[in-house]
Symmetry: C2
Subunit: 333 residues, 2 copies
């Protein structure tokens, strides 16, 4: 098993009120690079800034790192359009950050990114891949992808109150400028990505297609963004089994409708509850209050812990250990 | 502890008879990229070609990977001038392959590479780094560096018979074209790298300097190339403890004079004998016959195994397992 984390940026995240994956718009640009470092090293190393939401909720990278420290699985970080450099070792897909989804072609190199990722997915020798993402603004492009493909247009949010009306307005503009109506790109995943996607979705979908083609089991680790990636895989014509592992926080978000969405796409869903309500701790309270919910493969990492018979109490203790280490070190939060 | 593997290329390797780090000159260009993949994945993944010497000796990456499979240490691969792309995740130093050492400035961006690596060395949060290399032709540039710095000009070879006269002739030309005499760049490590170095030496030296500056213990994993890196660190003015971990095959190569060289540089040496003469196996016979000797951090990996109380018998069994897996899969050898 290899845990693959795909990081990148999209200018879509700069739209006011769209994302909570960073304390400020500038901070948000650094979030994916810092997330890859936290999962790799246990702390950001090229910056001292730990990604937090505007209200102070720490990045889900803390949870993924905590599970890694308990289980010690193999990892691979993929640079698919990072706006800021990272000191985490990455395989580069050779694509830059995505443009604003309201541009006509926010991802002009969608085909190249998808094919490069597909080749990488075919190459990896593992029997099983778990694929997660870190891309601020990613649920909005996911909504664009689901809408353009004609799938159920439901997505979650890193904010406690999903700004769904805002996202829908953005995607209406995005489709308009691309001269598309909902469902117009059904069966055309690459065109979909080019017109309303982001580089991370292109790479996750390409990896999943390539890995599946070479007989590797794929679990998509995340919520509605990963469901959008699954939709791209299905519209590419792949009918093989596909799994999704997410958190109870996404399940409880009615605007996400993750079970219905997964059911539409014939995707098995595993939901894990880390039991964060058992603690009163700044690393967990915001999740209980409905923030963040998912990201950085958190739901997949929790599923791995569960399967390895690590207790959620042990996971929580390790989350606190990672968080306290970050807090000791950070000085910009 | 983190095992850092720095890969890159130098056109110097194209000089006929200089290196055995590949079956052909074209193969040699792929060797570092494939070595990083073997250590990361247990096999090359972006190519099916396993690096072997012209006589068929498999790359020392097999040994480093075998020890990793036994011990499971943290790794970091660094791209410092790879000529061919790799599907191993890397941190990139942002430098291209080195030119022929007989050019006036085979490494024009020596200062940038050294400083980027130094910054990375400072950033890494580990208490201990072990740093290895993979760069065909690297002992020739190492001879250039030692000579220009005025240190003992002795280097080992991946060939059973060290083509030392050829290397010395190459370095004489290299110094001439740079208008240098032996010892002329003492105290000037960056100028030395620029005039007679390669990108891997620049990065290994920069990493060692940066890590030492931030209180990290550094062990250089390799033979005379790593001694040349140690010389660069010393000429930068770093007096802290520095260790070198190499194989018995380098120790037994009189042309390497590794103990004298290390002694000159106040570097502690650990020598490990993997006991390859206990087997009659194609993964080991060539080493016993004096080929390869070192590389891809092999000596450091063996020292880690020794310290972890893994027996050399267990290491040898794992070397055979890794080799057989490569052989099963490869079809171009």
């Amino acid at each position: 098993m290899r845990f693959v984390l795909v990081g990148g940026n999209t200018e879509t995240a700069r739209i006011d009120g769209i994302s909570a994956a960073g304390a400020t718009p500038e901070g948000m640009a650094h979030t994916p690079s810092a997330d890859l470092e936290i999962v790799t090293y246990g702390q950001p190393v090229s910056t001292r800034t730990v990604p937090v939401s505007p209200s102070g909720c720490p990045t889900p990278a803390v949870v993924t790192r905590a599970v890694f420290e308990l289980l010690g699985f193999e990892r691979l970080a993929v640079d698919s359009g990072l706006a800021c450099s990272t000191s985490a070792p990455t395989v580069s897909i050779g694509v830059g950050p995505g443009q604003d989804v309201r541009d006509a072609t926010p991802l002009p190199s969608a085909a190249e990114a998808f094919e490069t990722a597909r080749r990488l997915g075919r190459q990896l020798p593992d029997e099983r891949l778990m694929v997660g993402e870190t891309v601020p603004g990613g649920t909005t492009t996911a909504l664009g992808v689901l809408t353009a493909l004609g799938e159920r247009p439901t997505v979650s949010s890193s904010l406690p109150e999903n700004p769904l009306a805002l996202k829908e307005a953005v995607i209406e503009m995005a489709l308009d400028v691309s001269e598309l109506s909902p469902g117009d790109t059904a069966g055309e995943p690459v065109k979909t990505l080019k017109c309303v996607g982001d580089p991370v979705l292109a790479t996750v979908a390409g990896l999943a297609v390539g890995a599946t083609e070479s007989g590797t089991d794929v679990t998509l680790a995340g919520g509605t963004q990963m469901a959008a990636a699954a939709a791209l895989v299905r519209h590419f014509g792949i009918d093989d089994a596909l799994s999704l592992a997410t958190t109870v926080f996404v399940l409880e978000d009615e605007s996400a409708a993750i079970e219905e969405l997964a059911n539409d796409l014939a995707v098995d869903v595993t939901v894990t509850d880390p039991g964060f309500d058992a603690h009163d701790h700044p690393a967990m309270n915001a999740y209980v209050a409905g923030e963040a919910k998912e990201g950085v493969g958190m739901g997949g990492a929790l599923a791995l812990a569960d399967r390895a018979d690590a207790t959620m109490a042990a996971v929580r203790e390790q989350v606190i250990a990672v968080y306290d280490r970050l807090l000791d070190r950070g000085n910009d939060r």
